[in-house]
């Protein structure tokens, strides 16, 4: 056995004093660890399964709670996204529960950035009065609700806004994957497939980095694919951190991925490597598509993408030979989620390339996951809100966009036009992350009512008339989450520690109570537990069992590989030719589209991407994560040495970055890992809310440089259509 002559550094017995400090939440995690270090004989450690909330993956995790205080986390072994592991954010973000910068009570704005604390009753009353007044004067279509969809939000938020008679429910995807979602939706009937990475033989990632935009199980699968000898190609203007797991890096000119995919598709057909059997049985419009592809030769693509024609031919050919265990991974945000005028079309082209390989629902291919069957509320006892009369704002302008998610920035546009009068933002920081912050600020300031429901004073909360403090995910139960995949399952987020701040509430309570104040309480006449029990009913699992396990998978409901389900496209098949597109006034066949802007010899394109330790804007204020940024200077922008040299810039120098929208000062990382035409900005910095003391002032927000814009197809934000100039400055 290991000698346990271990450190007892600063160990204090669980005295009354420390327990009191813990429950009052007055000590930060940091201070706490000073006083309360090693588990002593009298430390009670409880393990509570739950789900992470540090990003959209919501991995299963287990909280280790020591004497009532969150100590550490481990990955839930059964959850399909964590598979026993958590990323750095998963571990570190949980400390938000003890953050000094949390919201602790409802706030009402009484001046520019000035707030006063109010009671919940007053908040509900005043918000309800204003909402009802606005609805009466301008109709329910003048109010909107936007969120980052999480388990409870996904159920309660649309129900709440519908209860008010409005269809205006939006998600953050307008600056995430709206373009890809639309492209996929109209080709294969879902906004995203998943990829059977561990069984694949040839994998191409286009602007998707498992090692940066993390989900632990994805990285694990990729590592095992590598162990199995798979070819792994990364298409990225930047050698991202997944580079270590790859066999090849194609340093593409940013914004030109569509040309690459078209040319690779051209090669497949030309070399007769496409899966004719699959195409015959499961697709429509192949002839027209093949006809259009003729002009997209590898030589043509070389001129646009900068990738040698023979590399394009070689890779497409090898993928064709490896089919169906070959695929272009479905991607997420990086290359064509929301970035260029051609992004939706790139999404479409990728879905079609996978169809040429016939890899849908094949081992090592693209997978349509199965969903668990969950119970629904009895409408007789719990009436649902009526279908709103006026359709969702933006659905006319962007008929191709995925209707459930909508185009969230339409709220800002209509606010500027005086049409949108009230907006609720739940769990999302639209003011900093959705579009140009200056425009977003102006838009939010134009509205009669803005409500932000958050855990900290985000930039959006700063612009709100009312700020409602939610408890953190460490302190709340949520609606059961259905997990779709090869094997479907369910996961539960549950409370790990007592509420730290008494005047904070979980979201289901906030919606239920606010609905009552608005006079639509009848749609929320159930408790969260009742709802969860109802959802569980068809599964045969008890609530108690789920609480104990946290994540439960249904192996009996595993999808059958090789059996393509009927697709949710109008034809029920993969659509190489889309009538929907035609009806919406777009070309029904995919074609090359130029990006909106292009850099000149003396300028760069601004591109962005994730860093492993941060999630969008929400982690910048977490000390244990921000410390890593500080230790390794991660807020720096990337520039190619050849360009840097020409500009007299050395590694670590301070530069000025200037676009049509803004000027920023920042230090540079000079690296061979980036395309000479691009400047890469890590996406998580530039917090301007002074209440977020850890995040404030580190780096800059790339959105400041992005003109407020909508891509024609999906309405997404075109966030890489930005040209910047760089020059060395002192500092």
């Amino acid at each position: 056995m290991v000698e346990t002559k271990l450190s007892r550094r600063g160990f204090i017995k669980a005295s009354a004093a420390t327990a009191a400090l813990a429950s009052a939440g007055t000590v930060g995690f940091n201070e706490w660890s000073k006083n309360y270090v090693k588990a002593g004989a009298n430390a009670v450690v409880k393990e509570i399964p739950s789900t992470c909330n540090a990003c959209s993956s919501k991995c299963g995790m287990i909280g280790h709670v020591k004497n009532g205080r969150l100590w550490k986390l481990t990955g839930h072994p059964d959850h399909p996204y964590s598979k026993g592991k958590l990323c750095a954010r998963g571990h570190g973000y949980a400390t938000v529960v003890y953050s000094k910068d949390r919201l602790t009570q409802p706030l009402k704005r009484i001046g520019e950035k000035k707030f006063e604390p109010i009671s919940w009753e007053q908040a509900y009353r005043e918000i309800a009065e204003k909402l009802n007044k606005i609805i009466k004067a301008h109709g329910p279509q003048s109010v909107a609700l936007t969120e980052d969809p999480r388990a409870s939000g996904k159920f309660y938020s649309p129900r709440f806004i519908n209860a008010l008679g409005s269809a205006n429910y939006y998600t953050h995807h307008v600056v995430c994957s709206n373009a890809r979602d639309a492209g996929f939706l109209h080709t294969v009937g879902v906004t995203a497939t998943s990829a059977d990475i561990s069984n694949a033989k040839y994998i191409m990632f286009i602007g998707r980095s498992y090692g940066d935009g993390i989900r632990p199980s994805s990285v694990q699968s990729l590592a095992s694919a590598k162990d199995n000898g798979a070819k792994i190609v990364i298409v990225d203007p930047r050698l991202n951190n997944t580079g270590n797991l790859a066999t090849e890096w194609l340093a593409i000119r940013p914004g030109t991925d569509l040309a690459l995919v078209l040319a690779m598709s051209h090669v497949l057909i030309k070399e007769n490597l496409h899966d004719m059997e699959f195409i015959k049985n499961f697709t429509v419009g192949f002839e027209e598509y093949a006809q259009e592809l003729k002009k997209y030769t590898p030589e043509w693509a070389e001129g646009i993408t900068g990738i040698p024609a023979d590399a394009i031919t070689r890779i497409a050919t090898d993928m064709g030979k490896a089919k169906p265990k070959a695929l272009i991974e479905q991607s997420w945000r990086g290359a064509f989620g929301c970035n260029y005028e051609n992004s939706t079309e790139t999404g479409r082209a990728v879905a079609m390339f996978n169809a040429l390989l016939g890899n849908y629902q094949q081992k090592g291919g693209s997978i349509f996951g199965g969903k668990p069957t969950l119970g629904k509320l009895d409408k007789a006892k719990h009436p649902s809100p009526k279908e709103p009369e006026v359709p969702k704002a933006g659905s006319k302008e962007f008929p191709i966009a995925y209707p459930e998610n909508g185009v969230a920035t339409i709220v800002a546009k209509e606010a500027l036009e005086g049409k949108m009068k009230a907006a609720i933002y739940y769990h999302s920081n639209a003011a900093l992350g959705y579009g140009n912050p200056k425009v977003m600020k102006e838009a939010l300031s134009k509205m009669d009512l803005v409500v932000a429901i958050d855990v900290q004073m985000s930039e959006t909360a700063q612009l709100a008339h009312y700020v409602l403090p939610e408890v953190t995910y460490i302190e709340r139960d949520e609606v059961i989450e259905g997990l779709s995949g090869k094997v479907p399952g369910i996961a539960l987020r549950q409370q790990m520690v007592d509420k730290v701040h008494p005047e904070t509430k979980p979201i289901h309570e906030i919606y239920t109570e606010l609905a009552k104040a608005c006079g639509v309480g009848q749609y929320f006449n159930f408790t969260l537990d009742e709802l969860n029990e109802t959802m569980l009913a068809p599964t045969g699992i008890t609530y108690k069992q789920l609480r104990e396990k946290g994540t439960i998978m249904f192996p009996n409901e595993e999808i059958t590989i090789g059996e393509l389900p009927k697709l949710k496209t109008p034809s029920g098949k993969v659509e190489f030719y889309s009538e929907t597109y035609k009806a919406a006034g777009f070309k029904p066949i995919v074609e090359w589209i130029e990006p909106k802007v292009s850099p000149a010899d003396d300028s760069f394109r601004l591109i962005t991407g994730k860093q492993a330790i941060h999630s969008h804007t929400q982690t910048a204020n977490i000390p244990i994560l921000m410390q890593i940024t500080k230790d390794y200077d991660l807020e720096r922008i990337w520039i190619n040495p050849v360009r840097a040299k020409a500009l007299g810039i050395k590694d670590g120098d301070m530069v000025e970055l200037k676009s049509s929208e803004a000027t920023s000062k920042i230090r540079v990382k000079v690296t061979e890992r980036i395309h000479p035409e691009a400047i890469f900005v890590p996406s998580h910095y530039g917090i301007t809310s002074k209440d977020l003391k850890t995040g404030y002032g580190v780096g800059f927000g790339y959105m400041e440089h992005v003109p407020f814009d909508f891509e024609k197809w999906s309405g997404s934000g075109n966030i890489h259509e930005v040209i910047v100039k760089v020059r060395k400055v002192n500092g």
Binding site: L6, S7, Y210, N241
Partner: protein, 178 residues
Amino acid sequence: MARYGMVIDTRKCVGCYACRVSCQMQNELPVEESYIKFYEKETGVFPNVKNEIIPVQCQHCEDAPCVSVCPTKATYTTKEGIVLVDADKCIGCKYCMVACHYGARTQDHNTGVVEKCRFCAELVAEGKQPACVSTCISNARIFGDLDDPNSEVSKAIVKMNAQPLRPDLGKAKIYYVR
């Protein structure tokens, strides 16, 4: 008697820092203090570039210089070969810090004590894996008994010809695949 050791496969490491943060949480370290440090080595010229990420923590050296220089015997080697610091004996003289070849030690300025990776001895004692190993999202880390030729770690060392960072500086118990 088990002799514990680890393999770190830098060809798999994506530099995600999950190991760092999980270690800080496990050991309840202040945010500024970390047992794992990261080094990057970029080679080549655009677009033929390679980037290696090398996480470095205490290598649990045999004949560890930190043990021999520690005047108070606060740093010691357990029977299993794990190098540990007895925080109640450490005076914070930092002699071990200058003596360590791998810059693996840090001082906690709250207590003044100099610490470092302890191979999660308390978890290992319970038969569990160290925090950094169990959370490594790319399975780049393998931990186990070096004396048992059938352990996963021993097999990995042989199969991948893993080597200490500087074999010439003395035997270490972390083996790298590079």
